[in-house]
């Protein structure tokens, strides 16, 4: 039996101004008909390049050095443009990462599906319409006939991804490439998409290449898992085995970095003194205009307190108001309510004096945008020292504190990797010797292994300085490893605020339970 998709000894270069850079080294993979192969790797490991090579949509500076790509018995590399259009979609489907950009915003959903069906299955428009409605119903969308007439901005991200998946499956391809299809979605929505994928797969028996950076997730959907590291294939094994018995050291590192809630990293308990109390916090964006009312508040009268040395976790989906809380506590957003900190009461950003600003620091989500690209590292670190008292010779010590060599002081932010930039941002926050550091999704854009290093660093800094943390994240498994208490937020409300031990108990909110069920717990 021939493989549905086979990649043999494939190597790919990108030609840059500094000469050719090899991104894929001698890759050999096979997917049998009906099999799902998971491809796992960190960012920059070349997994997306492989997907684009299979779709024959490589950038102009890509050079295929050797190897072959075969879809069934078709040699993909030999196809001309006209033959390619007959392969793409019809025999080789693709589902992209971000559903909001993979649908055309100016066309109704219906016409985007029927276009694919008419082209690839030679249907008449009326039959295509009927089939499209059937397909949309099959991916569990309510009222498919109404969805057909809507535009992409009128449906949610999860619904968009269902539409894309319905289109991909509707053309009955031999193989579908999934490029991180749930990364851009919320945890619960993503979990539902995975359930849908498992069901459709069983019904249609399609083969798939499932690309992701999340090893725990891939082991749940794939039959076999291949691990890619810097363009080299380091290990291939059945999904159930790779977690239990990773053979290669890189795979072992990946497995070790996956957060497991039962593996606690923090063992002490915080003091009894309350450091910060926030009550009735409502965050407002935008002022009422002359002719329009102010938009509704992003959070609904939220209260929380942080004890000295405590790690308080805040979890929730995007739009749940957790980042708004971070902005309120640092005076970046207008809010009403009361914050009391260190015997002072604060009613708005104007009440925040230099002492408060020094004691409460924030680290942002995106390391690329949190450092000014036109400032060197030493200038970035010198600002808090100048503002809050401190001497410039402290900079090497600050860098050393976040495990960076002192030679980095003279570098520009773009010369650093994402993890290193996040370390500089942490050093900048700790330069003020704060009592409370707010971490707003600081590990979300990082790879799992880098995330583990950053967490380790934060815990080491906490042991050194006794700083309290408010740790905002959407990763429930991660926060259950480190937090003392966790607040669960949904649509601007705090539905639960519990000590971490109580998460296994019965009295948790139904939403929290749903969130726990949706967080992929590693197999094995």
């Amino acid at each position: 039996m021939t493989a549905a998709l086979s990649i043999r000894n494939y190597s790919l270069d990108y030609v840059t101004s500094a000469g050719p850079v090899r991104v894929l080294h001698d890759i050999s993979l096979e997917i049998a008909p009906g099999e799902v192969l998971g491809l796992v790797g960190e960012s920059g490991s070349g997994k997306s390049s492989l997907a684009w090579a299979l779709m024959r949509h490589l950038p102009a500076n890509a050079r295929e050095v050797e190897g072959s790509l075969q879809l069934g018995n078709v040699d993909l590399q030999r196809l001309g443009p006209r033959e390619l259009t007959r392969i793409r979609g019809r025999r080789l489907g693709m589902v992209f990462q971000d559903p909001s950009t993979s649908l055309n915003p100016t066309l109704a959903i219906g016409s985007q599906i029927t276009e694919a069906l008419i082209r690839h299955r030679d249907l008449k428009p009326r039959d295509a319409d009927a089939l499209a409605i059937e397909l949309l119903g099959h991916v569990d969308l309510n009222n498919p006939a109404a969805i057909m007439r809507r535009y992409p901005h009128e449906i949610s991200g999860g619904e968009k991804q269902r539409v894309v998946i319905a289109t991909a499956f509707g053309c009955r391809p031999d193989v579908i490439l999934f490029d991180e299809p749930t990364t851009a979605l919320d945890v619960i929505t993503g979990a539902r998409i995975l359930e849908l994928f498992a069901r459709l797969r069983q019904e249609t028996g399609v083969a798939a290449l499932y690309i992701s950076h999340d090893l725990a997730l891939v082991t749940r959907v794939a039959d076999r898992v291949a691990v890619l590291k810097r363009g080299r294939l380091v290990e291939q094994a059945p999904a159930a085995e790779i977690f239990r018995a990773p053979r290669h050291s890189d795979t072992q590192a990946l497995v070790a970095a996956v957060p497991r809630p039962e593996h606690r990293l923090v063992h002490d308990s915080p003091g009894d003194d309350v450091l910060l109390t926030a009550s009735d916090i409502e965050v407002h964006y935008g002022n009422p205009g002359l002719f329009r009312r102010a938009p509704p508040a992003a959070t609904k009268k939220i209260g929380l307190n942080v004890r000295a040395g405590e790690i308080l976790g805040l979890v929730g989906e995007s739009g749940s108001g957790k980042s708004s809380m971070a902005r309120a506590l640092t005076g970046l957003a207008h809010f009403s309510g009361r914050i009391s900190f260190d015997n002072q009461v604060i009613h708005g950003a104007r009440d925040m004096n230099a002492a408060y600003r020094r004691d409460v620091q924030i680290v942002f989500q995106h390391p690329d945008s949190s450092l000014n690209p036109r400032h060197r590292i030493d200038e970035i670190l010198s600002r808090p020292l100048k503002l809050y008292g401190g001497s410039l010779p402290d900079i090497p010590r600050l860098l050393d504190q976040v495990r960076l060599p002192s030679s980095y002081a003279g570098r520009w932010p773009h010369q650093l990797s994402g993890g290193e930039k996040q370390r500089v941002a942490i050093a900048r926050a700790f330069a003020a010797r704060p009592k409370l550091v707010i971490c707003d999704e600081i590990t979300a854009p990082l790879d799992v292994s880098v995330q583990a290093q950053i967490i380790e660093l934060l815990l080491a800094l906490r042991a050194e300085t006794g700083t309290a943390f408010v740790f905002i994240t959407h990763d429930l498994n991660l926060i259950r490893q480190i937090a003392h208490r966790i607040g669960v937020m949904r649509r601007g409300e705090m539905v639960d605020l519990l000590p971490v031990e109580d998460f296994d108990a019965n009295h948790i909110h139904s939403y929290t339970r749903e969130l726990m069920a949706a967080s992929p717990v590693p197999v094995g």
Binding site: N287, Q365, H366, S370, A425
Partner: protein, 276 residues
């Protein structure tokens, strides 16, 4: 910087622009030394002399050598245009970044005032200002700077609004930095690329606007050899001595095209996405 220059030269428009600009710069720096005659030397025997070995680009109604006048006139045209653009861009950029930083009502107030000023055509605005301030090259430069500032403010604000939402600006606000530090050190350096491109292209408009003002008699005053003024002077003798009109017109066009091409080239060279 050298890397930017090589990237600029690799683009055809950058290369042509730079070569033309080198010619203009040569005239500005060494014009008086290179000119074969004094620019105001009158020669009544040589009135309206056609281009030839005595006067390379011909002579005007007073027998003054046009080539010499062009070489010397470069100094009063191009640097003035540069100064006017630089001043206008600087003022506009600061207004734009400040408006984006403060946001809300302050932003509305600044930008609506800006729109009101922009509603007046540039030339009309410059004319209005010069007639208020009085004739003269310096006042013309001020007028051009003021006429340019609102446009620059608008361009800069749109870029600065993006920068305003970057986390490093939020970090600066959260740590309690002052408005001046945030505007000048955090935001302004990050909006420089579009400002540089926009103002390079605007230099060409300034050269033309400056020449236009002189042509209308409110910019440089006779007997200065400013290019626009030369065109104005030659206009009455257009049929007798077309060269007296053509030569300065071509000079204005060359300077304008040079800056325009460099602006185009810079836009490509400063775009980091194009790094191949």
């Amino acid at each position: 910087m050298t890397e930017l220059l090589t990237r600029l030269i690799r683009k055809p428009q950058g290369f042509v622009g730079l070569s033309l600009l080198a010619l203009v710069a040569l005239a500005c720096l060494f014009g008086p030394a290179l000119a074969p005659y004094a620019p105001e030397k009158i020669n009544f025997l040589g009135r309206f002399r056609a281009p030839g070995w005595q006067n390379w680009l011909g002579a005007d109604q007073f027998g003054r050598d046009i080539f010499s006048r062009l070489m010397v006139g470069a100094r009063s045209t191009v640097p003035m245009a540069l100064i006017a653009t630089f001043a206008g861009s600087a003022v506009g950029a600061i207004i734009g970044v400040g408006s984006a930083y403060f946001g809300g009502r302050a932003d509305e107030a600044i930008m609506r005032t800006n729109d009101a000023v922009m509603a007046i055509p540039g030339l009309l605005m410059a004319l209005l200002l010069v007639s208020t301030l009085g004739n003269g090259a310096g006042n013309a430069a001020i007028a051009i700077a003021i006429a340019f500032a609102p446009g620059m403010a608008r361009v800069t604000r749109s870029v600065a609004l993006n920068v305003r939402n970057q986390d490093y600006v939020k970090a600066a606000i959260a740590r309690g930095e002052g408005a001046l530090w945030i505007i000048f050190r955090e935001m302004l350096p990050n909006v420089m690329a579009p400002i540089v491109i926009e103002s390079t292209i605007r230099v060409s408009f300034a050269v033309m606007l400056f020449a236009t003002l002189s042509f209308l008699g409110v910019g440089a005053q006779p007997p200065a050899s400013e290019w626009g003024l030369m065109v104005a002077d030659a206009r009455q003798y257009m049929y007798q001595a077309p060269w007296a009109l053509i030569a300065p017109s071509v000079a204005i066009a060359v300077a304008a095209i040079a800056f325009n091409l460099i602006g185009d080239g810079l836009r490509d060279a400063l775009n980091p996405k194009d790094e191949r």
